[in-house]
């Protein structure tokens, strides 16, 4: 799913430095990895939801729509844990057994999926991917060659659906057609293109070959324009401002507070809950 909007609308969150946002998102995700109780991720999810809606000015409809895959995945995680985790039986009927441990751990894992999901959505919907690459190059000291190669890759990616359509069309022209008598009338029309799973593979391979060729040409044109020469100057430098640093500090402090309070209340559980 391509989440990144063509143009990121202005919002307090969109104005923050992309590298700082990415670092905060990464640290929060790692911290959530070690939390295994249902309450803490739920609180972080709520905070993230409010942050994305208010700070990112993301419309509620959009925010809920992009979360649909997370909801589905979280439901699957919860079900499979309830059904397959051994422990105190809550309900038993033949081979089906529901356990208390499964319910608690499943809810914790589902909550974590949703919490990391909302934070990622808040990041992606307020960050322009090219601005992120520019910022990573300037603020995170990512080398010029990988940065610009990735930006060229971004352009390539935008054109892939079009090229895919062209390849499929070109292969359809030469593909064998369904003849009369080979298929039942009415379900599939005569003279339509016969297509198996092999067609997907052939089109994919053609796309790969064509893209490798283009990548080589792109590398040559980037080098002929002087990429890789030092010293380099940049157009429109990106800075990490004091507001960005304050934003990062406040979010991480908030996260630490939630985890700390949960620990003090005895709600917090670590990876030990799994075993």
């Amino acid at each position: 799913m391509i989440l990144n909007p063509a143009q990121v609308p202005d919002s307090p969150l969109a104005r923050r430095n992309p590298t700082v946002k990415l670092a905060v998102l990464f640290l929060a995700s790692v911290a959530l990895l070690f939390v295994l109780d249902p309450v803490t991720p739920a609180v972080i999810y709520l905070a993230g939801f409010i942050g994305a809606a208010v700070g990112g000015r993301i419309p509620l409809r959009t925010l809920l729509a992009v979360q649909l895959p997370f909801f589905a995945f979280a439901a699957g995680v919860l079900t499979i844990n309830v059904l397959s985790r051994p422990g105190t039986a809550l309900w038993e009927e033949g081979p089906v057994r529901l356990t208390v441990e499964g319910l608690v751990v499943g809810a914790a894992l589902a909550g974590r999926t949703l919490a990391i999901g909302i934070l990622s959505v808040g990041f992606l919907l307020t960050t322009d991917s090219l601005a992120l690459m520019t910022s990573l190059h300037q603020n995170a000291r990512l080398g010029a060659r990988p940065s610009y190669a990735l930006m060229a890759g971004h352009r390539l990616l935008q054109q892939l659906p079009g090229e895919w359509a062209v390849i499929r069309a070109a292969q359809s022209v030469r593909a064998p057609l369904r003849r009369a008598g080979t298929v039942r009338q009415g379900t599939v029309r005569q003279g339509t293109v016969r297509r198996g799973p092999g067609a997907f593979g052939r089109a994919g391979f053609a796309l790969l070959v064509q893209s490798i060729r283009r990548g080589e040409r792109m590398a040559q044109s980037l080098e002929s324009r002087g990429l890789g020469l030092t010293p380099r100057t940049v157009w429109r430098p990106v800075h990490v401002t004091s507001v960005d640093l304050a934003f990062g500090a406040v979010v991480l402090a908030g996260l630490a507070t939630v985890i700390g309070v949960a620990g003090a209340l005895g709600l917090l559980r670590g990876p030990g809950a799994l075993f």
Partner: protein, 202 residues
């Protein structure tokens, strides 16, 4: 001509832009293909209900493909790890993957697992067995991280998950990679890379 050849041999860690670009292209194309494939896969996932997350393991090997392909074409240390990391960056930043930045950690582990057999062969052997071991290790190494991240430990399905993932790694992430690499070599599109130089004896 001989002079260029010697510099290339000695500078083992000096990457050419062409090589970096190849990693990006592999990441972009496989990211796109996987995305296209997943459209059909979601249906199967929904059809199998709560076991949707189990059936998805069958496709796991698909994530491993970029590493062995990149290693076989570029034949440099860290090509596999970098290929996986770049692919995950494209996945997260450009395609908006749901997993978030933690995918980078998984990708680095996958790349390391896939690269290990090739590194042990000093990037000189590219037989079916090396590819198969690469796929198995790529899937096997990251499994323990995924199991921790997704909380599979302590459930009845842990071993079943490991078996499905390793088999998928060997078939899709190992053997299929060799089929693709050999196909690419035959087209001549990678003749300007290390694989072409080895093939043409330059």
């Amino acid at each position: 001509m001989t002079a260029t050849a010697t510099t290339r041999r000695t500078s083992l860690f000096a990457w050419q832009l062409k090589d970096i670009m190849l990693l990006v292209v592999l990441g972009a194309v496989f990211g796109f293909l996987y995305w296209a494939l997943v459209q059909g896969w979601i249906a199967l996932s929904v059809a199998t209900g709560p076991f949707g997350d189990l059936t998805q393991h069958v496709l796991l090997g698909g994530w491993l493909l970029v590493a062995p392909i990149a290693i076989a074409i570029i034949r440099r240390p860290f090509a596999g790890i970098l290929a996986e990391i770049i692919a995950s960056v494209i996945e997260v930043v450009f395609l908006g993957s749901a997993v978030g930045p933690l995918l980078l950690v998984a990708a680095a582990l996958q790349g390391a697992g896939s690269e290990l057999p090739f590194a042990l062969m000093r990037y000189r052997r590219y037989g079916w067995l090396v590819y198969a071991v690469s796929g198995a290790l790529g899937a096997g190494l990251v499994f323990f991280y995924s199991a921790f991240r997704s909380g599979w430990y302590g459930t009845d399905l842990l071993l079943l998950r490991l078996v499905i993932q390793v088999v998928s790694g060997i078939v899709i992430g190992g053997l299929l990679a060799k089929v693709i690499v050999d196909g690419l070599a035959r087209t001549g599109v990678v003749d300007n890379f290390a694989i072409g130089r080895a093939r043409l004896g330059a």
